[in-house]
C-alpha cells in the first residue's frame, strides 16, 4: 500500500486524557491548506473539555467519543465533526461550511452566528439555538428552547419537535420550520404558508441530516418585516 493510501485509510486516535486540547487542535490545524496527514480522526475521553476540534479548515472527518464542553467545532470549515455524546454551549458556533453532528443533546446557542454548513442535533437543543444565524442550516431531531433563531438573518432551522417561547424574535430572512408546537412567536415572527418548494427544502435537509420525519408535517415561520430595520424611511 502506498504511503498516501495508508494515511487515507488510517484512523488517528487522540486520547484527551493524555493529550491536551491545544495539541489536538494544533495537529488538526496543521492539515489546513491541504497538508498531508490523517484524514480520519477519533478523539476519546473528551470529559467535557472546551473548544475540542475548533477552527478546522480541512476536508477531514473527526469523531468524538463522549460529551464535550463549550464551543466544540466552532468556526468549522470543510470538516465533518461527529460528537457521539452531548455538547455544551455554542456547538458549531460561527460554522462556515462542512458538517457537525451531535448524537445527544446540546446546550444553549447551538450554531450561533453560523454562516454555512449543516448542524445536525439528534436530541434536543436548549435556548437560543441558531441565534443570529447567517446562512447555516440546522436540523434538530428533538425540540429547541426559548429564544431560538433570535435575530436570525439567513439560513434554515428545522425542528422536528417543539419550539420554546419567543421563536424567531426580531428575525430577518431566515426560514424556520417546526413540526411540533411553538410556545410563542417572538417580535415580528409570523407563520407563513408552507408551499411545495418549502416541503422540498425540508425534505432535502432531513435527508442530508439523516433524520426521519414527514416533510409535509412542518409549519413555516419567518419575518413579517415590520420592525424598524425593514422601514424604507429608516434606510440610509
Amino acid at each position: 500500500m502506498a504511503v498516501a493510501e495508508r494515511e487515507h485509510a488510517a484512523v488517528e486516535i487522540v486520547d484527551l486524557e493524555t493529550t491536551s486540547v491545544r495539541e489536538l487542535n494544533q495537529r488538526l490545524h496543521d492539515l489546513a491548506a491541504g497538508a498531508a496527514g490523517p484524514r480520519h480522526w477519533r478523539v476519546v475521553n473528551p470529559s467535557g473539555a472546551h473548544a475540542v476540534a475548533c477552527g478546522l479548515d480541512a476536508a477531514i472527518e473527526v469523531e468524538i467519543d463522549g460529551h464535550v464542553g463549550y464551543y466544540c467545532a466552532g468556526m468549522n470549515k470543510l470538516a465533518h465533526v461527529h460528537v457521539h455524546g452531548n455538547a455544551s454551549t455554542g456547538i458549531a458556533e460561527n460554522m462556515m461550511s462542512g458538517r457537525v453532528t451531535v448524537d445527544g443533546n446540546v446546550s444553549q446557542s447551538a450554531g450561533a452566528t453560523g454562516r454555512g454548513g449543516l448542524l445536525v442535533v439528534r436530541g434536543n437543543a436548549s435556548s437560543r439555538c441558531g441565534i443570529s444565524m447567517k446562512g447555516i442550516d440546522i436540523v434538530v431531531g428533538g425540540s429547541v428552547g426559548h429564544m431560538s433563531a433570535f435575530m436570525a438573518q439567513t439560513g434554515t432551522l428545522v425542528v422536528c419537535g417543539d419550539a420554546g417561547e419567543a421563536l424567531g424574535d426580531s428575525i430577518y430572512e431566515a426560514r424556520l420550520y417546526v413540526a411540533g408546537s411553538v410556545s410563542s412567536l417572538g417580535a415580528d415572527c409570523v407563520e407563513k404558508e408552507l408551499r411545495d418548494e418549502h416541503v422540498a427544502q425540508v425534505a432535502a435537509l432531513l435527508e442530508a441530516a439523516d433524520v426521519d420525519a414527514d416533510p409535509a408535517g412542518f409549519r413555516r415561520y419567518g419575518s413579517e418585516r415590520r420592525l424598524y430595520t425593514f422601514k424604507v424611511d429608516n434606510a440610509y
Binding site: G48, G69, N86, S88, N105, Q108, S127, G145
Partner: protein, 301 residues
C-alpha cells in the same frame, strides 16, 4: 462567572467517599472560580436536642480549647471540636439559636459559618486545589454536599464573602450569577428579622429562602417564589438537612447540567465536574429547564 457543584449520594459507597468525589468536582471548576472555594456538607447529625456549629477564626493560632471551655460552662458541652484548618465544628447540648447567641455574645471575633443539626460549611480564599488540600476534604463522609468556586464580581475576596452562604439552620445556597435587586430585598428581609453578615448578593438569596421556609413554604414553594421576587441571573443549588434542589432563572444564561445514576445525583455548572464521578459515562444527563425546580429528598441518616 463562578462554578457550582452539588452531589447527593444514593448509595452507601458514595456516602463513604462523598468528600473525595466533591473535591474532584470542585477542582474541575477552578477555571470558573479561582478566587475562593467552599463547601457545605451534610453529615453526622447532632443528637436530638443538640445542635452543630461550624465556627471560623481569622486567627491562624486560634485556641479552640478556650471556646470549648466556654461552651462547657454555658451548656455542659465538653466534647472536643473537630478542627479543619481555620474552621472548627462544635456539637452543643442546646438548640442552634442559643448556641449561636452565645458565640456572638462571648466570641464576637469568631464567625458562625453554619448552624443546624447536620450542616457543616468550610470556605476559604484561594485556589480550589489548595482549599481541598488544606481542609482534607477527601476524608469527609456525608449524605449530600454543595460546593462553590468563586470569581468575585459583586464584593471583595474574603473568607466571609466566599460561598456557600447559610442564613437558616441546615440551609445552604450556592449561586452562579448576579442579582440586581439584592439591596432592596436585603432591607425588606432585615425588617422580617433575617440577619445578614455581608453585602453579598448571594447571601440575600439564601436569606430570602430562609424567610420563605420560616413562613411555612416548602423548599419547592420557596424556590418558585424566587422566580417572582429575585431579579437577575442565577443558577442556584440549595441544600437542606434532607434535600437538594436546583433552579435556573427563566432566561437561563448561566449554565447547569444535571446527571443521575443509581448511586448519585450530581449538578454542576459544567460536565467536566461530573465526568470525574464513577459511572458518569453511563449517567442520564440533562440540562435543567429554565424556571423549573428540581428537587431530591432523602431520609435523615
Amino acid at each position: 462567572m463562578c462554578g457550582i457543584v452539588g452531589l447527593f449520594a444514593k448509595s452507601a459507597d458514595v456516602e463513604e467517599r462523598l468528600g473525595e468525589h466533591l473535591a474532584a468536582m470542585l477542582v474541575q471548576m477552578s477555571s470558573r472560580g479561582p478566587d475562593s472555594a467552599g463547601v457545605a456538607v451534610y453529615r453526622n447529625p447532632a443528637p436530638t436536642g443538640s445542635s452543630k456549629l461550624t465556627l471560623y477564626s481569622p486567627d491562624a493560632h486560634e485556641r479552640w480549647g478556650a471556646v470549648r471551655d466556654g461552651l462547657c460552662d454555658a451548656f455542659g458541652t465538653c466534647a472536643e471540636p473537630s478542627v479543619r484548618a481555620s474552621h472548627a465544628v462544635f456539637v452543643v447540648d442546646a438548640d442552634a439559636a442559643d448556641a449561636e447567641r452565645w458565640v456572638r455574645a462571648n466570641r464576637p471575633d469568631l464567625r458562625v459559618m453554619s448552624a443546624g443539626q447536620v450542616i457543616e460549611i468550610y470556605k476559604e480564599t484561594g485556589l480550589p486545589e489548595d482549599f481541598v488540600r488544606t481542609f482534607a476534604l477527601e476524608d469527609i463522609r456525608g449524605t449530600h454536599a454543595l460546593g462553590h468556586t468563586r470569581m468575585a464580581t459583586e464584593s471583595r475576596v474574603t473568607t466571609e464573602g466566599s460561598h456557600p452562604f447559610s442564613t437558616g439552620y441546615d440551609l445552604c445556597l450556592v449561586h452562579n450569577g448576579s442579582l440586581s435587586n439584592h439591596n432592596r430585598l436585603r432591607e425588606n428581609l432585615r425588617r422580617e428579622g433575617i440577619e445578614f453578615q455581608t453585602e453579598n448578593d448571594t447571601e440575600v438569596a439564601a436569606g430570602y429562602l430562609a424567610w420563605r421556609l420560616r413562613e411555612g413554604a416548602s423548599l419547592e414553594q420557596a424556590l418558585e417564589g424566587c422566580l417572582d421576587d429575585l431579579d437577575g441571573f442565577y443558577t442556584f443549588a440549595v441544600g437542606t438537612a434532607d434535600g437538594f434542589a436546583v433552579l435556573r432563572d427563566p432566561i437561563a444564561c448561566k449554565p447547569a447540567v444535571l446527571a443521575e445514576t443509581d448511586d448519585w445525583v450530581a449538578m454542576s455548572s459544567e460536565w467536566r465536574s461530573i465526568a470525574v464521578l464513577p459511572g458518569a459515562a453511563d449517567a442520564r444527563a440533562w440540562e435543567p429547564e429554565p424556571g423549573v425546580v428540581y428537587a431530591w429528598e432523602k431520609a435523615l441518616v
